[in-house]
């Protein structure tokens, strides 16, 4: 469970307020969508939750652990997938898993067992021992998914994980997210693709210029409007704020 409380982030002393007193809750076994245009503050919010950035004010509890007080403890509970797969060209997928497993303090045999399982499940066995520099973007994103899932973390943070992927790879990522929910994990998933949010998410927060302007299930957000299409709902919400 992720509980975000009045979380704010300002870059520089008088700089932009990238996240402005954001509050929301994402429960276990739930896919929580962060919907917003580019530059709305989705990535900054996720980076704050991943403790990569320090909040200017406010905090968040990840499974009860305060990320301001114990960032290291929070990172133990997280799996993170970003828009960029972020793989080392000269390491193989299997070596990636070993590296990140060791950073999480997993014992070697456990890493080997989990890796084999994930490589099979994500259909990566064929290229598991090939240098990542030779892999396609979709394959690389699978490495990122396996890396995030390796430690079986209770919380997954995913920042536009399907950006730049082809149809099949997008489907693999979406299936992965579905499995994470089934496994009882809390998934926070950001996207600017309305249909994807509508298809996958149990609940959604709409973020605009750093502020959460609406929060609820897709159905609830739609019910505030007479319009049928979620795109129209989003456009109206954002339009009201501008």
């Amino acid at each position: 469970m992720v509980e975000v409380r009045e979380l704010s982030k300002r870059f520089g002393r008088n700089g932009v307020l990238a996240v402005d007193r954001a509050s929301f809750q994402a429960k276990a076994g739930e896919i929580f969508g962060l919907l917003g245009e580019n530059g709305a503050g989705k990535t900054t919010t996720l980076r704050l939750l991943a403790t990569i950035l320090d909040p200017t004010s406010g905090t968040a509890l990840i499974n009860g652990i305060d990320l301001v007080r114990d960032p290291g403890g929070v990172r133990r509970l997280l799996g993170v997938v970003a828009a960029e797969p972020g793989v080392y060209d000269r390491l193989t997928p299997r070596e990636h898993l070993r590296y990140f497993g060791e950073l999480h303090g997993m014992p070697r045999p456990e890493i080997a067992r989990r890796s084999a399982e994930l490589l099979r499940r994500l259909d990566m066995e064929e290229f598991a021992d090939r240098r990542s520099g030779q892999l396609s973007r979709g394959m690389k994103q699978k490495v990122a998914l396996a890396r995030a899932w390796l430690t079986d973390p209770p919380v997954l943070l995913m920042d536009e994980p399907t950006a730049g992927l082809d149809v099949l790879s997008t489907r693999a990522v979406e299936e992965f997210i579905g499995e994470a929910r089934a496994a009882g994990k809390t998934v926070i998933f950001s996207s600017h693709i309305m249909s994807q949010i509508e298809k996958l998410c149990d609940r959604v927060a709409v973020i605009h210029r750093g502020r959460i302007i609406a929060d609820g299930t897709v159905g609830e957000l739609k019910s505030h409007s007479t319009r049928e299409r979620f795109e129209d709902v989003f456009a109206r919400l954002v339009g009201e704020q501008s």
Binding site: T51, G72, E84, G86, Y88, F100, L103, A144, L157
Partner: protein, 408 residues
Amino acid sequence: MKGRRDFDWRHVGVVFRKELLDTTRDRRTWLAMIIMPLLLVPLLLLAMPTIMAQHLERVQETPVAVAVVGAEHYPDLVAFLDGRDGVNTVQLEDPVAGLAERAVHAILYLPEGMGAAVAGETPAQLRLAFDASDEFSTAARDRLAAALGEFAGRVVADRLAARGLDPAILNPFPWSLENLAPPQRMVGFALGMVMPMLLAIWASTGGMYAAIDGAAGEKERGTLEPLLSTPASRTAIVIGKYLAVVLTSVLASTVSLLGMVLTFLIRPAALLGPGADLQVRLAEILPAPAAGVILLVVLGLAGMFSALQLAISLYARSFREAQTYLSPLSFVVIFPAIFTQFLPVEHVPEWFFFVPVLGSLAVLKEVLVGIIDLEHIAMTLAVSAVGIRFALAFAVACFRKERVLFRT
């Protein structure tokens, strides 16, 4: 402080091993770390002198053409010059243009009435023109100067003989040269010129690619974010990376030392000079204590530069930008190295040992000449230790700064 509380040496080890694995798979590092340092010393000491000697031989074997102006004023001298190997005299209408076009290598002007002057035992002023920008012209100058000296000697000998005097009276004490420097000192002198510079350069740049890859490279590939969201603290990440860069740098220096040893094994004369006693053993050139001190000094240099390189390349947005920022850093070593290259060990001022880099260069020079001055070594290592402390703190601070990490 964020990160410090979560510091775990195991994370340092994990990051260190991964960086080494990554580095050993990078061709650029191999080139910068092993191949270049290994081959540069043999190239400098074996190939370069051979090529230069061959060139010099070619210059010496080529006959020079000398335009003689006023040859008719003293045909005896012209005949003498023509009789010498490697000198041909010619007559030209415009000798200056001939010299400019390199048709002749020198111009010799004989004054009017020279024959009478020589006969009358009054001085005759000659003029020799040459082109200092042309090696063959310089060779012609030297050859002519020697020939003129020899001819003048003959004239003097004739004059002395006419007076019934022995020419030996002109040379009251003939003397000879003898080099008493033991071969080890000779080697030290030669190595003291080149090796400190090379050792320092590799110590400070050998790990550059590893540093760029580990900081700017992580940013560019988007691997920094996943790495920062693992339980490893930022301090542990920096130190793991730092140790890998230091090891790479020290390895580069060690390999260049190995190149030197290799040169010695292939052709001892390259280090000892021709005609030296070739029975000198390696242990005399590089005794174990000297090798130990070299390693420590190199470690100090590598320790400072690796941290700076990591910090600077983390500030850069891309691999290429990091390269641009880091290139000037090598001048911090190259300038003092050139500056101290020709400075004799005995004349190194005491304050050198209080200055980072300068002190290291001076100690390397001392050690290679066979001097082990514990005070100098201790001072230099202490200065390096302080340098490392600050440089590493700077690198850690950079890894904690969002403005540096996410500079766009």
